[in-house]
Point group: D2
Chain length 298, copies 4
């Protein structure tokens, strides 16, 4: 299995839609959603990530999600592993390899230790066991583990099979600057795109994040490559209020799913427990933001 570095650009983090009635995975909406991503020119997809609610899916559901995605579009996919320990991570990667085959651009694993040698050793084992290229996600808010950019660069530098880094330990721009200077792996920003302009300036290869208008992420990254800061700023500016609105702590996923629903990309905005639902008090403001962005789109 080749382990090429991820191509630069936007790797859309795909939400997992659920039906409102039974809370089952809504495969039709999922297919719609990834086809939309395909249609707007994302580089690839990131499936079963944190905002794909992977930790809330059974194995059968994870398998189904992967199958729907690879059947619906021909994009390369990064597949997230929810576990933070090696044995179950390998099990998850094996599932991804089995279902997505040569469409698997990388398996995304969490930093689970601040010790760079131990991290490198685990990454190496995971790769040897599965053949998959690895995307290393540094997301302390979710894992509780803080490694620091220097140690992360050290770990990644020892492992040839790392095909990308997802840098989500704030403040991300200085971390990305270090990682981009010290590793060959492309570094992607996440966190909903709140710092996308600054992450690109710091040397990121693009965005690997969820947003109800991935069009905005694509426009920003494309503009950055073509025209630098000023062009990217102009391309992204009108999306930024909605980006910040969707990046709210805890409720962000519910807000994003509701936005996707209003766009017609999902049939329902349901999130699984214990994720909180979108507070009704924010509905009107979401309408305003969507109207403002729609106006840009047209």
């Amino acid at each position: 299995m080749p382990t090429n570095p991820l191509s630069p650009g936007v790797w859309g983090v795909v939400a997992t839609p659920f039906t409102a009635s039974t809370m089952d995975v809504d495969e039709q909406s999922l297919a719609n959603l990834v086809r939309h991503h395909r249609s707007i020119g994302v580089t690839g997809l990131t499936v079963l990530g944190v905002f794909g609610e992977a930790v809330r899916l059974s194995t059968a559901e994870k398998r189904a999600v992967l199958q729907v995605v690879v059947d619906a579009v021909d994009l390369p996919v990064v597949v997230g592993a929810s576990s933070t320990s090696l044995a179950p991570v390998i099990e998850e990667i094996e599932l991804a390899v089995e279902v997505t085959g040569d469409r698997l651009a990388g398996a995304m694993v969490q930093v689970n230790t601040p010790d760079p040698r131990l991290l490198a050793s685990q990454l190496d084992t995971a790769h040897r066991a599965t053949g998959a290229g690895l995307v290393v996600q540094d997301y302390p808010l979710v894992t509780g583990v803080s490694i620091g950019a220097d140690a992360l660069a050290e770990a990644v530098g020892e492992v040839g099979s790392v095909v990308g880094i997802k840098a989500e330990a704030p403040p991300t721009p200085p971390a990305i600057a270090k990682l981009a200077a010290r590793t060959r792996a492309p570094v992607f920003g996440g966190l909903g795109g709140v710092g996308l302009l600054d992450e690109l300036a710091a040397g990121s290869a693009g965005a690997m994040t969820g947003f109800s208008f991935p069009e905005g992420l694509v426009a920003c990254v494309d503009a950055w490559r073509a025209g630098g800061y000023s062009a990217a700023l102009e391309a992204y500016l009108r999306y930024l209020p909605l980006v910040n609105f969707e990046a709210q702590a805890r409720i962000g996923l519910a807000v994003r799913k509701e936005a996707l629903r209003r766009r017609g990309l999902l049939a329902a905005a349901a999130v699984r427990a214990p994720a909180p639902a979108m507070p009704p008090s924010l509905m009107e403001q979401l309408d305003r933001h969507l109207a403002a962005v729609d106006h840009v789109e047209k």
Copy 2:
């Protein structure tokens, strides 16, 4: 499937032994370990808990652990679910039901929300989907979720299928006093037995925890029932320095496995990453503690 309340007493939390060379599950040591628990008169076993390193096991390994345990001894077992969301929890419980059958005294699930209604609803769904009785574990250090004893009692009170509570939100004695007064489910202390005397005094039904000398837990709980505080104190006192030594943050599991190894109950003390190994600087003190306890045993 009957969902009787757990019997009072000691439910030994079983470590998962690994071979030193390959780090695979060491089934022989596991069988030894649970047979030892059987021989000293524990009420039941708790398998695949936090200190059983369940989050570091693949599904196949979890299945093997359960099979070894039910084959080796005839004790009732509580089986831990590692996930914190409903769909994968149900998947884990189904595995437990399949392998342990009528030996399954309860499936242990984590409190994953501070909202008592939401918790009750999820517990109810998990029971309906699997038929299993549920042991609710309140362990905020591991989950990051704090519910409080009042809300936990409220949630548990609404769900008839709860067969036990594992109270591990410090300070545990006042929480246990509330839970014991307000719910019918038996409440067990954990946390390595550091507060066992106080938890019994608060109304706990016993201990559900790991310790390298589970003999001490059994002696304490038996003495409490027979003679109250003074008897329990005398029975437990000589174990307490080792209890505290094993309860050390982060390294506690490695210390306990090393103690079990020196007792001849495990072939190796290996823990899986990212759990830290036992610091060599503590080896001599472990010897002292073990010698002091051995002297009691004889």
Copy 3:
């Protein structure tokens, strides 16, 4: 002492400038900074807050800061108390009363307990002891205490002397919606203005936060009152990339001070330990953001 609710608008959170050589309080820069705030039409100033590095000042320095501010401008001031317990908080408020006299619009105190009755009782005592109106700051990232909007509303509802609430427990918009509906005290957003549009929509009375271009905060709040969402969006949009850039975790204060230095409002960007300095890798991007905003200003 009257305890009128704070007037709506922008209460600029004032940084405490230090000299680069001796790290002493730079009184001249401080006077410049507050005069600039006065010149752009802020409603009032917030002094000795978290981003005023109040916890890093001696009592003599706090006194000096307050004196410089009241001498330099005639604005009403909210004065922060750094302590989280009643006795030292009262001592800090007494200092504020002594130096700022009838210019004291409110003393800002932290939520230090999740218990609404206990919070109310402490607020009441603080007011009775000092006569000062109180601004209640809910900032769990700094205090480690999470109260929730319902309990906060309950506490504030019992205390007539509360003149304002600073809501900084994310997600802030739904919290502000609850607080605005359930209390008479005006509620202000903070957190660097990242959610200002959404906080205004939720019913906030304005912004109480720091930003290197407080002009942007004033423009946004004024536009909101005059023309609602669309007007506020247009007024704020060009500032938002810089707002996000300054809101970065840990380094945000250093970034903001550097921005203020480049604007000529501070002589030096120095922050006191253990606050980290601005990473050099971000300097170029700060220049870009400032140039983009400067262009708006002209």
Copy 4:
């Protein structure tokens, strides 16, 4: 001012008693308490520490506490600084120097950064500004800062004025082993004495902690010096259940003050908000523990 290393032994952490009616500092009880410590042979006292509720005292109250202590007994004192930044820490140390004079064995300051150079630089400045020897307290639960034993040893090694280390970052025994091997400063355990046996074995110079029967700490440390592990174990064993009972999270201080009250050493067990009071459900068990220890004492 000489900066001699702290003498080994027990430095009793002194609670600050409050009157039940007015919640003022109860100077009479404080004098009783420190005279009791004197009578049982502690090496010195630690005043205005975390469990002395220093953060809940006004400057005038801190001064009064120090004055009462130095007037009541002739012991050397370590005085805690509550602040975590240099300028206010220096202000607090100056107060300690002024009131306690040559009785000041050391000013205790918190680790406020994980960066050893920055820590060393701040320690050095604090010493130069005040002349005081410094006791460095590593207590991440309170400060939120984790430095690690290696970096702490590095920092302390660069600063000649450090007269002691209070190691309270669990697990403390391996940390103390490192610190004792790598620094000249004596290292003391704290945390209520839960790990005292293991800390002594790791090379600690004694205990710097609070306990309602400091007699037990003294007996243990003296026995360790005279007869090693076995002697210390015998001396300490009967106190250990009460030690664990008092070490309970959050409520520990209230439990300890109630125990001191029942011993007749304090007139009231009151703690200042937001510290929680002792849960009534634990009163009976406290009686049992005290009776068991009293029996030992006689």
